[in-house]
């Protein structure tokens, strides 16, 4: 008898622990968090963009911007252009909590009830996981990841990136360094994650090819960790330039602050996901002079000519919009161009047809988002520009022209 009671209480304890966990970590809530915009569900010829979007969890700062950007793009393209050849766009995005299983679940749910033409993915892991399913269903996909591995039309035929892959991003930084200070001493600092390791080996080689000297490569464990030892190693290596990759915010500000306290004069650089203005603002004083590669124009870019897309964004919003918001617009603009050309050629909007279109397109006009006309090479656009944080102006200012990798 008492054994029974103990067992049931034990089960109660275990169950309530799990329930408490499930309550907030999101599966129940996530399904409700859906954004739908554009053509109605009943419209048969609608062009449907589905999205596994991280609106909660650690990547929510980007996911919410993706969602808003995609939503605004679809409203704009339907209102201003009536979609493509009279076919309206429809966007359906659901929250994933930045969890691969949930992203796959969202993909299955959306593709089972909608006739999806394009898909927007939220992570490298999701892109890898869903690849065979994309091929089976013949759906074209882009998304949040710039993983070098995805830049491979043979392995990932129906996926393309919205800018330079991580190796190319670092490549653009190295080109800039080689130009500014030939023979400079360069250090890499990256997180011990798939994201962090992505460009490192190839970039070390690239640096040597450019005549730069790689004096140190430091790895930091994931999560909140101590970087005191790493900063001491960095001081010993005396680099002219230090390139961070695999971080959003921490530990970059701390690294910069400690290096300055030790009297180091190295210039710090970052890649796309640590370059948004909101992240730079969080870095505070440490950000002054921080440089990095950015494939798109910033919302406030004063150099931008009066172009269609940036103009439309400014008409919709008076306040700053993150680079991830601009990234979603780029996805929309490219999808529109691809759909237009595919339909004009008299083909159906299948993934393989649209991939053929993408491969044949040259000098695509991105409406001012990227400062030069772009052509896909492999599955990426190897173009970007170096920006520097100017704390007096409170914004990122361009310090190079648009750099296109050979």
């Amino acid at each position: 008898m008492s054994m029974k009671i103990r067992t049931s209480r034990l089960l109660f304890g275990v169950a309530s622990g799990l329930a408490l966990g499930g309550l907030v970590s999101g599966t129940a809530l996530a399904q409700d968090q859906e954004t739908t915009v554009g053509a109605g569900a009943g419209e048969e010829d609608a062009i449907v963009i589905g999205g596994s979007i991280p609106m909660t969890g650690v990547f929510a700062f980007a996911g919410l911007a993706f969602n808003e950007g995609m939503r605004d793009f679809v409203s704009w393209v339907n209102e201003e252009h009536g979609g493509v050849n009279g076919r309206k766009f429809r966007y359906v995005g659901q929250d994933t909590g930045y969890d691969v299983d949930e992203s796959v679940g969202v993909f299955q749910r959306i593709t089972s009830r909608e006739d999806v033409d394009f898909y927007f993915g939220d992570s490298t892991a999701f892109s890898q996981t869903i690849n065979s399913e994309l091929n089976r269903r013949d759906i074209l996909m882009t998304g949040a990841s710039f993983a070098s591995e995805l830049n491979n039309p043979e392995e990932y035929p129906l996926q393309f990136l919205l800018g330079p892959d991580y190796t190319e991003q670092v490549g653009i930084l190295l080109d800039y360094i080689a130009d500014e200070q030939p023979g400079a001493r360069v250090a890499f600092v990256h997180s011990d994650t798939e994201f962090g390791r992505d460009p490192i080996a190839a970039s070390q080689e690239r640096a040597e090819e450019l005549g730069l000297e790689v004096v140190e490569t430091l790895v930091t464990p994931p999560g909140a960790s101590d970087i005191s030892g790493a900063t001491l190693s960095l001081r010993r290596a005396r680099p002219d330039y230090t390139i961070f990759h695999g971080y959003v915010l921490a530990p970059i500000p701390d690294f910069i602050e400690r290096s300055r306290q030790m009297g180091m004069e190295t210039k710090f650089m970052g890649t796309y996901y640590s370059m948004d203005q909101t992240i730079i603002d969080e870095m505070g004083e440490a950000a002054d002079g921080f440089m990095g590669v950015m494939p798109y124009r910033y919302y406030y870019d004063q150099e931008a000519p009066d172009t269609e897309i940036l103009g439309a964004i400014h008409d919709m919003h008076d306040e700053y919009k993150p680079t991830m918001y601009i990234q979603a617009w780029l996805a929309g603009v490219l999808l529109r161009e691809i759909a237009q050309e595919t339909l004009d050629a008299g083909k159906e909007l299948t993934g393989s047809n649209m991939r053929e279109t993408l491969d044949s397109m040259e000098n695509i006009d991105t409406g001012g988002i990227i400062g030069v006309p772009v052509t896909y090479r492999g599955s990426s656009i190897p173009v970007g520009r170096i920006y520097r944080a100017d704390m007096d102006e409170g914004r990122m200012v361009p310090v190079s022209d648009w750099i296109e990798l050979e």
Binding site: R6, R9, L10, S16, G21, G229, D254, E282
Partner: protein, 292 residues
């Protein structure tokens, strides 16, 4: 020059180790008094850091006031959790309580993401930023001051633990609950006291950690290394928490510099394995068997 570098790396490791030690003490206090292995410790620490962020950056209160409020908030969190979630389960199978603390950690992460979102943040600077030199060796000011603060807090705690009535009651309850009851000690109040104290210590550690490494809803993972620290030191030993915290901080720092950052946590878990094989009750723990 090599020795100077080694010395600097060691100081950096000990500085971070002090944060392990501080959090580990909070862990041990709860375990000693209530026999609960609290896996939500890392998240309690995170919550304290976010409270400080909310008061200091969100509401723009003066730093000292934000600090006091965050510490009180941490204590209240500990008290609330004990009274609402843990006490009804006391005396039950340890695995029930253990699982509930796992659930709690998820709830705290969720709460933080609802209130402050999951966007990574920096804490307002409140530690002095003038470089510190010990001899010729450089110590980052944040590391130095967080070590000093952690050491003072632990010192005050040890004095209280030794001489204050509440501290004595806590130790009495830890050594023999039945006898403590018989002597008129209010054991449920001791439970509350231990969770409240631990909540406050965790909040303090969270604020220091946040000022060194930034805050995010993922920073509770720090609690995993602290769990290793308390297992190595001995689950019920304050001395063990202090020694193992400093030791693991030091080893991680050396491993990070001389082997590479990818080996830091590897070394931590190798130490854990060795200790579990040779002294499963920890370096300074009481030799008894806890079956989960």
């Amino acid at each position: 020059m090599e020795w100077l570098f080694f010395f600097e790396v060691s100081l950096a490791g000990l500085g971070f180790g002090a944060l392990y030690a501080l959090t580990a003490v909070a862990f041990v206090v709860i375990y000693k008094a209530t026999r609960v292995i609290n896996l939500a410790m890392g998240e309690m620490l995170m919550f304290g850091a976010y409270l400080f962020f909310g008061f200091a950056a969100g509401m723009a209160l003066p730093v000292w006031l934000a600090l006091v409020l965050a510490l009180l908030g941490g204590a209240l969190l500990g008290l609330g959790l004990e009274r609402i979630v843990i006490r009804p389960l006391l005396g039950e199978n340890p695995i029930s309580v253990f699982m509930v603390t796992i659930g709690l950690s998820s709830v705290l992460v969720g709460l933080v993401e609802i209130i402050w979102t999951a966007t990574p943040r920096s804490l307002p600077d409140f530690l002095p930023s003038d470089p510190i030199f010990i001899g010729d060796a450089f110590v980052a000011p944040k590391t130095f001051w967080s070590f000093v603060i952690a050491a003072v807090v632990i010192g005050v705690f040890l004095v209280l633990f030794r001489f204050w009535r509440g501290g004595v009651a806590l130790r009495a309850t830890a050594s023999d609950q039945g006898a403590a009851y018989a002597m008129g000690i209010n054991v449920p109040a001791v439970y509350s006291l231990s969770w409240g104290l631990a909540g406050m210590l965790a909040a303090g550690a969270g604020i220091l950690l946040g000022s060194v490494a930034g805050i995010s809803s993922e920073m509770g993972v720090f609690g995993l290394t602290v769990l290793v620290v308390v297992i190595v030191g001995g689950l019920d030993s304050v001395l063990g928490a202090l020694v193992a915290g400093l030791f693991i901080g030091w080893v991680e720092s050396l491993a990070g510099v001389y082997l590479g950052g990818e080996y830091e946590h590897l070394m931590t878990f190798i130490i854990l394995m060795v200790v579990l094989l040779l002294r499963p009750w920890g370096l300074f723990g009481t030799r008894e068997i806890e079956r989960l």
